[in-house]
Symmetry: none
Subunit: 194 residues, 4 copies
């Protein structure tokens, strides 16, 4: 029954994304999520330890998958420049394609206790490491400045993209996020290039 089980697990996660996006984490009662998922309240607890576990799972499953995609596409790039462009393009495109998920990851997931933040940190770390590796590759190939502070730079790059997504969301998605890729990557490359 593993298939049915997984199906219900994903169904609850889908419902949670929707409800969290609309009402925020603290405004989302388990009963609301259960109703949206078409299951009984108690059923939630057959798949998740508690309410917070839904949020953590959401992050791990959905954002983890996204970050996996970033890594895959970066691996296929032929240069550091190209990798950075690909990552940013994917980052913006994927969140633009999944605005509910974007809302949850940018807004709701920040609303959480320390315990959760640690989990989130764990999920994000591969992404930060990915950016760092791209920077190191660029330095090695001579594309990027050798004196670059890679730790600081990866923070600045991640923070910049993160804020671009948040601003787009808070503008109520009135413009295209994907259209910002060029400007963003141009900004980064000028900052990085030798």
């Amino acid at each position: 029954m593993a298939v049915g089980r997984l199906h219900k697990f994903e169904g609850i996660l889908d419902a949670a994304v929707k409800v969290f996006a609309e009402h925020g984490y603290h405004g989302s009662q388990i009963s609301k999520i259960a109703k949206e998922a078409g299951v009984a309240d108690g059923t939630i607890y057959l798949y998740f330890k508690n309410k917070e576990d839904i949020l953590v799972s959401l992050f791990r499953e959905r954002l983890g998958r996204l970050i996996g995609k970033f890594e895959a596409s970066a691996r296929d790039s032929k240069s550091a420049e190209d990798a950075l462009r690909t990552i940013c393009a994917l980052h913006y495109a994927e969140l633009e394609r999944h605005p509910l998920l974007a809302h949850v990851t940018q807004i709701e997931l920040r609303q959480s206790a320390l315990a959760l933040r640690k989990e989130i940190g764990k999920t994000l770390k591969p992404y930060l490491r990915l950016i760092e590796n791209v920077l190191l590759d660029g330095i090695a190939s001579g594309a990027f400045r050798p004196e670059l502070n890679v730790v600081l730079s990866r923070q600045l790059i991640f923070g910049a993209m993160d804020e671009a997504v948040s601003s787009w969301l808070l503008s109520e998605r009135k413009y295209s996020l994907a259209a910002q890729v060029e400007g963003t990557v141009d900004f980064f490359l000028r900052a990085l290039k030798s």
Copy 2:
């Protein structure tokens, strides 16, 4: 008794910064803040509409004051480059000097309902406008590239600094934030310069 009133108002805000920083917004009971401030629970409601209003006031008062400082120092700068450097230096220095406030603004203030986010947005807007104006000055003076997307750039700059502060906080302030000013500003200027 306006002076006494203001004094108590600030006292409660100080207590709130401390309690929020230690326990987070949702873990901070009004009674805890009242005890820390040395007043009765009910007294809080003579100065604030409700719990959320404390957070909003905190942001408006404390962060607003900070942003005022940024504006004043930018006004005294002799070039756009210099203004950007001054803003970043002050941004990092002030939050490093007030780690509790930093914690509350970077972590706790993000934990809030949409209504609050709008308020926060209002407080932050002058800061974003300030950055935008610096960019426009730089373009006008020929220091920055004329084709620069100022709206996007100000998002990237703010997001980058914001993440730098958050990373420093989550590292448990193991390194100096002020020491990151040079690297950060260098990153920005390379991205911006013509």
Copy 3:
């Protein structure tokens, strides 16, 4: 405000005795007790740590008081025989006078987790010690058999009286419990006398 506080504390305890007696511990919701006491649900928690604490307090306060009376009256007796008679008479009389309390102590208080049983044991211990001391006095004065096993005897005496009360309660108090004092004490004295 200590007087008002004590008054409300006792009021809640009174309500709890009534509700526990009618519905049993597990059938008594906090809301039922609160309504009976004429206070809000939350008020209960200003006076008691949790639901079990009400039961523990009930035992400590009410039964403790009763046992105090037993001790006082035993102290005034002129012989061990007399003390035993006085204790039994008081034991039966008090519980007959307070049938709700009797119900709670004989029936409901037995329905509890180990943690509570320990508390109950603590409250009852002075009573068992009292009986033991009466037995020792009786042996010392030559009234009771010197070879008596006092520990066992005090168990048998307490258990016998306890069961007499329970049986009377389960009979729905169809007969007088006080009328059983003579028979009970006669039974004990024959068993104990030299």
Copy 4:
């Protein structure tokens, strides 16, 4: 398939004794008992009406069997005195041999709603009647005092033995219960003899 059926029924009862003894009635989930018995949760309901029915059945089956033994051994006694001694010896010995059952009957079975108590009463009644008959025999044979209140006496005797067992259990079985038979019976006989 009556044999297989009975076997599973007894298996569940065995599991219930174990689980109740360890976790108490309210701490024992059906699922825990099912796992201990090696059956599915739902299977329990093919053999028992509901959770309380397990407790009632436990009492009826296991304690009923015990009481049957008491009756058989009393029937074989040649005098009332002897019967009383035999009953007490068996009572103590059997519960000492089956400490889990002892725990459940002395502690857990008391934790129950009125409905259950009535059922328990029904199971115990034959035992009380047995004691009563022994008393009547003793009076008839002149061994016991003719003016004895048999109803009260049987309560006192049962309560005394019951408490002796409970005390032994709560002492964590640090001493031999069987060793208390002599002292107990001696106590009773002195109280009863003419």
